[in-house]
């Protein structure tokens, strides 16, 4: 025997532990092989050859299957890619800020107090104070006279009248919003001067607060006191900016209330404008919502709209009456409204708002006398909403925010006579320089070379610089002004193209690919589903294997494809090749409109799908009834489809967790009912017991809640100590300890029912798994002690230094050691031989009875070891409450497996679909919601001190989608549980179950994608539908990956290990 030494592992270093384990394992294996070889020098029999052949067949088949699921992953990714390209608008958020003393370019002429807030930072200051009034959804045509009698026309004439009668005091212009035209996005645009997008990929997703440089930030930095009245969106965007005692925020989402907010604003604004209280503030933002709400509730053409506009007219007249010389008044709509009174999209009616500026001092001018009359339509001489930012900044003497892309509004700087070209050129130059500085910083941040960007406006900048370089003649200034304006317009055009456009054809392409993938998945799952119940007769099995052996030794045994994976892949590949061959033609025909990568991806996806469908059509000559044939099939369809339809409504999206509990309970009641039909008393009792267990566990888990804002006030968060904290309550720390005590025993009891708590199971579940749970509990206690400063005498950082290696050890056990152990673990069986003298047996040969404990559940119990590894890893990254929910889920999975087995539902889609429901349900129970703000970023730091790629994102994913990952990993168990060795067609059943499971997520993802695309003008798009779409998309991809990397690989290891011991079926 070989003597080998295993070096001792360095404590706490998991690599070392793993290596030690591997070495020890290798030595043990070598010993065992040697022992076997000594004991029984094996000869190769034909049966062994047949076994080898079957193993080879399984491995080949497995590769085809893995290929098929990789193809699904590819298609899902491709569909989502195209939809996202058309739908999500992304932009990097830069952290740089403008400062008063550092203009982006040297001042062209000096003035008194330049570079200070008293004189004006980059340009002489005009006003000390400003009142900014936002009338939500004030469309341009509401403000100009019209000949018709629509309810929304001629009700707010004040703006137009003043612009005509006192052109030096007021001007009115169309004010064009950049889509998306929702209030939150608009306010970002109006204050930062940049184009808003859904994802501002900045340093912090979690809050809604604006972190970019913006007008309010600049005001605050120079010490201006800001008052806010009205829509509470402002307080979410600018927390802590407003003077606490005099600001008033009102709920913005109750669209049925037209008056509370407006009346509240009016009540508070007038006193603040009075001479006595003028000293309390410098800048005031008042945001009226009544017009918008009237539009949402009634549509624009309704008497309520007339009333509302008339009220606004009166309010503005009163405001003007109280205004002093030193205060600027700006009134604007943040967006318009469409024919139904809604907004969010990019139609003309939605983007055309109005802007009116007023000052008693009379400083406004027009460069052309004809411009005094405000434009008749919003198409004439419009200004962009972002233009407000440099305009306000320069008028108030503030620096222009760093990200600004707008240009100053001409009327505000042209002078009374409209001919101060020098001033106009100076402000245009200053603004353009700021834009140029921002662009340079943006390209650096993105890692792009600015000069490679098509249509780079460098040339325009050079022209403009040349134009103003000469002596100060008006003509020069005029040219320079025009050139700088052209530079700004071109830059804005490029940015808009990059950031803010829905691309409907791309969105449709994405949805189409996703829809086709769902059909392909269902066909795939259906084809591989086992049709007839397998006959379970040992004698028949023996006869069959004899026959097989015979034909094998004759060499006539042919390998039939067990699954449809091979023909599936072949279809996809042939399709893709044909697509690739014909792509040059299509490329030319389509005019090469898109990037080559996009085009290739589209052609590859579509032709692959066509190939798959062709292959499917060829394989099955007739299409059978597409509807489910059993009540269970119907249940699976109903659960999936009703939920998908529900996601079109914001209410059902908000209350998804309650709906999932409802479905889970429904399934439990159905199985309890069905179990009552079982003949045997014991089975009946077990079936009812497990069903009730399944319902009760789900119900208990439902007490773990993290409410989203929209669920208030009907929901109470229990996930953390209180609604305003993100730490666990002290009593919740008991949960991990309870888990360590109970969970292994619960798993043991499910093993014991089939006498499978044998072999490797006691070591792994009872010892390794439990130790991991204990360590995890210790970790969370230390974490709480650190957060709560229970031990103030300890040096800071000590607890962290202790707990991080603990977490690392748990991950080492669950992922590294666990994987190795699972790979090499023997089946959970034990062989008992009892030599008995059977009375009928011949005296010379004693009859030995061999009992294999755990035989009937060989496949399931061994695979479940893998699930315990995943479970441990997922439990480690969950907060105590979430760990409790995940443990309940694991228990529910075990009960589900028993229910499925007792009711013979292993080949029905209901099992995989219920697992998917469990995964989705416990996603919410682990303290998540389908909102960006509910992501638990801090889970990245559980086993790490700093952010480390790729581990940190993986940890956040494991925390966020732990429930779905666990569910996906458990899918093969639907088939494997209570499955004895040498069972035929296991792989086929497993991939059918996995395909059903993925199909659930694919349908949900398809539905949410469609709704997000369809509802892209909905008021709630960016609050509800878009986050739901993103969650569903990410979950689908995660499940696709887990399906391949965990479920399929796990089944392969499992089948190999069991085939090694028992032979192949």
């Amino acid at each position: 025997m070989v003597q080998a030494k295993v070096p001792k592992a360095a404590p706490g270093n998991y690599n070392s532990i793993a290596a030690q384990y591997a070495r020890a394992k290798a030595i043990k294996d070598a010993e065992e092989v040697a022992k076997l070889a000594k004991k029984a020098p094996k000869e190769k029999t034909p049966a062994d050859d047949l076994d080898e052949w079957k193993k080879g067949r399984f491995v080949r088949e497995w590769w085809w299957v893995a290929g098929a699921f990789m193809w699904f992953l590819f298609i899902h990714g491709s569909g989502l890619y195209f939809f996202t390209r058309g739908f999500l608008l992304t932009r990097l958020v830069l952290e740089e800020k403008s400062s008063c003393s550092e203009p982006p370019i040297a001042l062209s002429s000096s003035f008194k107090g330049a570079g200070t807030i008293e004189g004006g930072c980059w340009h002489p200051k005009t006003f000390d104070k400003a009142v900014v009034v936002i009338i939500d959804a004030l469309r341009y045509d509401f403000t100009i006279p019209s000949n018709d009698t629509e309810a929304f026309h001629n009700a707010l004439p004040f703006l137009y009248e003043t612009a005509i009668s006192q052109p030096q005091n007021a001007f009115l212009l169309p004010f064009i919003a950049d889509p998306p035209t929702t209030t939150l996005q608009r306010l970002k645009g109006l204050t930062t001067g940049t184009l808003p997008t859904f994802i501002d990929a900045g340093s912090n997703f979690a809050g809604t607060a604006i972190e970019e440089d913006n007008l309010l930030m600049q005001m605050k930095d120079v010490g201006k006191r800001i008052v806010h009245l009205g829509d509470d969106t402002w307080t979410a965007l600018f927390p802590g900016y407003f003077e606490a005692n005099i600001s008033r925020a009102y709920d913005s989402l109750n669209v049925y209330d037209l008056h509370t907010l407006d009346n509240g604003v009016v009540e508070h604004i007038m006193p603040l404008l009075s001479p006595e209280r003028k000293g309390e503030w410098d800048v005031m933002f008042a945001h009226f919502l009544g017009v918008d709400h009237a539009g949402h509730r009634y549509g624009p053409n309704h008497p309520a709209m007339t009333t509302k506009l008339q009220q606004m007219d009166g309010v503005l007249r009163d405001l003007v009456a109280t205004l002093d010389d030193n205060t600027l008044l700006a009134v604007m709509g943040d967006h318009g409204m469409d024919g139904k009174g809604d907004h969010g999209g990019e139609s003309d009616d939605e983007i055309q708002a109005a802007l009116w500026m007023y000052s008693k001092r009379g400083i406004f001018g027009r460069t052309d006398p004809a411009y005094i009359t405000p434009p008749a339509t919003a198409k004439i001489r419009p200004v962009n909403q972002i233009d407000l930012v440099p305009t306000l900044a320069l008028l108030l003497g503030l620096p222009i925010p760093f990200n600004n892309l707008g240009k100053p509004i001409e009327e505000a700087f042209a002078g009374k006579k409209g001919n101060v070209w020098g001033n106009l050129a100076a402000i245009a130059r200053m603004t353009a320089a700021g834009i140029k500085r921002y662009q340079a910083a943006y390209y650096v941040a993105r890692g792009l070379d600015e000069s490679t960007i098509e249509g780079s406006p460098h040339a325009l900048w050079a022209t403009a610089e040349k134009a103003v370089a000469g002596n100060g003649k008006d003509k020069m200034w005029k040219e320079g002004y025009a050139a700088f304006s052209a530079f700004q317009e071109e830059t804005l055009r490029i940015c808009r193209e990059l950031w803010a456009r829905f691309d409907v054809p791309k969105m449709m392409l994405g949805v189409g690919i996703l829809a086709a993938s769902v059909v392909a998945l269902v066909l795939f799952a259906n084809w591989n589903a086992e049709d007839e119940a397998a006959v379970d007769d040992p004698e028949l099995d023996i006869a069959e294997s004899k026959l097989e052996l015979e034909s094998f030794s004759k060499g006539t045994l042919t390998s039939e494809d067990e699954t449809s994976a091979k023909s599936f892949i072949r279809g996809a590949l042939i399709g893709m090749m044909l697509g690739a061959a014909s792509s040059p033609t299509i490329w030319i025909a389509s005019g090469g409109a898109d990037t080559f990568v996009d085009f290739g991806l589209a052609v590859g996806s579509i032709s692959g799908i066509v190939g798959v469908f062709y292959q499917e059509l060829r394989r099955r000559m007739e299409f059978s009834n597409p509807f489910p044939r059993t009540l269970w099939g119907w249940l699976a369809v109903i659960f999936t489809i009703t939920q998908s339809i529900g996601f079109a409504s914001n209410s059902y999206t908000i209350w998804e967790d309650s709906i999932l509990l409802f479905f889970i309970s429904t399934f439990g009641v159905a199985t309890a009912t069905s179990s009552l039909r079982l003949e045997k008393n014991s089975e009946r009792a077990l079936g009812v017991y497990h069903s009730l267990c399944f319902i009760a566990l789900g119900w208990i888990a439902s007490f773990s809640k993290l409410c989203r804002e929209e669920q208030m006030p009907y929901c109470r968060s229990t996930y953390y100590a209180s609604a305003t904290s993100s730490t666990s309550a002290p009593w919740q720390l008991l949960i991990p300890f309870l888990l360590a005590a109970l969970l292994p025993s619960i798993i043991k009891s499910y093993y014991a029912s089939s006498r499978s708590y044998e072999g490797f199971a006691p070591v792994w579940i009872g010892w390794a798994f439990r130790s991991g749970l204990v360590l995890s509990a210790v970790f969370w206690t230390l974490d709480a002690a650190d957060d709560g400063e229970w031990l103030p005498t300890l040096p800071t950082g000590l607890l962290k230094n202790i707990r991080i290696p603990i977490a690392q050890t748990v991950f080492a056990v669950s992922i590294v050691v666990g994987t190795i152990a699972f790979n090499y673990a023997p089946p959970c069986i034990s062989v008992r031989t009892s030599a008995t003298q059977a009375p009928t047996a011949k005296v010379t040969s004693p009859n030995a009875t061999v009992t294999i404990l755990g035989f009937a559940n060989t496949h399931g119990t061994r695979y479940f070891l893998l699930l315990t590894n995943i479970l441990l890893a997922v439990l480690m990254v969950q907060k105590p409450m979430g760990a409790g929910a995940i443990a309940l889920m694991a228990w529910q999975i075990l009960s589900l497996l028993e229910i499925i087995d007792l009711n013979s539902l292993a080949s029905s889609p209901i099992g995989p679909v219920i697992l998917a429901l469990l995964g989705s349900f416990h996603f919410f129970k682990t303290g998540h919601q389908t909102t960006l703000s509910s992501i638990q970023w801090e889970s990245a730091f559980i086993p790490l001190h700093t952010i480390r790629y790729p581990y940190s994102p993986l940890l956040v994913a494991l925390n966020s989608f732990g429930a779905q990952i666990l569910a996906a990993a458990a899918v093969p168990l639907i088939v494997l549980w209570k499955q004895k060795p040498k069972k035929k067609g296991i792989l086929r059943s497993v991939i059918s179950a996995l395909a059903w499971h993925i199909a659930y997520y694919a349908v949900i993802s398809l539905a949410t994608t469609m709704w997000a695309g369809h509802l892209r003008r909905h008021l709630m798009l960016y609050r509800i539908f878009c986050p739901k779409f993103m969650t569903a998309a990410v979950v689908m991809l995660v499940v696709d990956v887990v399906g391949i990397v965990v479920a399929l690989v796990g089944v392969r290891c499992n089948s190999m290990a069991i085939g090694e011991v028992f032979g192949w079926g």
Binding site: P538, L631, S753, F855
Partner: protein, 247 residues
């Protein structure tokens, strides 16, 4: 060497799925014209009474649910006594109810009265069970308990009461009912319809329509009544004698 595990072999056997012996038959109405007429009037009466009480139900659920329990009980009792064969009564050849086993034949009126009483008692007892079921489906547990209990009482009077009246406490029969495998008739059909209706009644609750009638448990009870009437009619006519199959 037969590789058989004595413990779990049986669980794998799909043959164990076969249904209980189909000996039971659907309930027939009492063979007289009065029974037939009352049976048609009964759903109309229930629905119109419900419709009349609906505004006050929405405005004030607890008092309305409570005060309408007695009228509902009277309607159900009259319907049962006049239309349905009491358990163990002479409408059936075999006495299967343990309840009436010791009763003398020919003692029908008092036996029926006793059966009615017994049905009421069991309906009352089943109310907390039904409330528990509602809570497991997601009904609030810390608040609205009287609402849930009262709605369960209505469910019990609609479903459990007639079922107990015609089937007594025969365990085998009740297993058949609980496994939804009883042959469909107007009593069983009404019960299934009632529960399905209550199940569907949960659908409008989450919607943000801000309607008064969306509050707990208005939609559930409405669904239950509508489902009961629908199930009763379908059960007595369209699907009579059929059985619900899962596979």
């Amino acid at each position: 060497m037969p590789l058989i595990d004595p413990v779990t072999m049986s669980a794998i056997n799909p043959a164990s799925q076969s249904a209980p012996a189909k000996t039971s038959s659907p309930i027939e109405l009492l063979p007289n014209d009065l029974a037939r007429i009352i049976s048609q009037v009964h759903p109309v009466l229930l629905l119109s009474a419900y419709y009349l009480r609906f505004p006050s139900f929405v405005a004030d659920p607890i008092p309305t649910l409570l005060s309408s329990l007695l009228p509902l009980a009277i309607i159900q009792a009259a319907y049962a006594a006049l239309c349905l064969p009491a358990t163990g009564s002479n409408a059936k050849a075999v006495k299967r109810g343990k309840l009436n086993g010791a009763k003398k034949i020919g003692d029908a009126p008092s036996a029926n009265a006793f059966t009615l009483l017994f049905s009421f008692v069991l309906s009352l007892l089943s109310t907390p069970v039904l409330a528990g079921l509602q809570i497991l489906f997601g009904a609030p547990i810390t608040t609205h308990l009287p609402h849930t209990l009262l709605s369960s009482a209505h469910l019990a009077l609609l479903t459990v009461f007639p079922l107990v009246y015609v089937h007594g406490s025969d365990g085998k029969k009740w297993r058949e009912i609980a496994s939804l495998h009883s042959p469909i008739d107007e009593v069983f059909g009404g019960a299934v319809g009632c529960f399905l209706g209550a199940w569907l009644g949960a659908v409008p609750i989450p919607l943000d329509w801000d309607r008064e009638w969306q509050k707990w448990p208005v939609t559930i009870v409405t669904g239950a009544y509508a489902g009961y009437v629908l199930g009763k009619m379908v059960g007595s006519w369209l699907l009579k004698g059929r059985r619900i199959e899962f596979d």
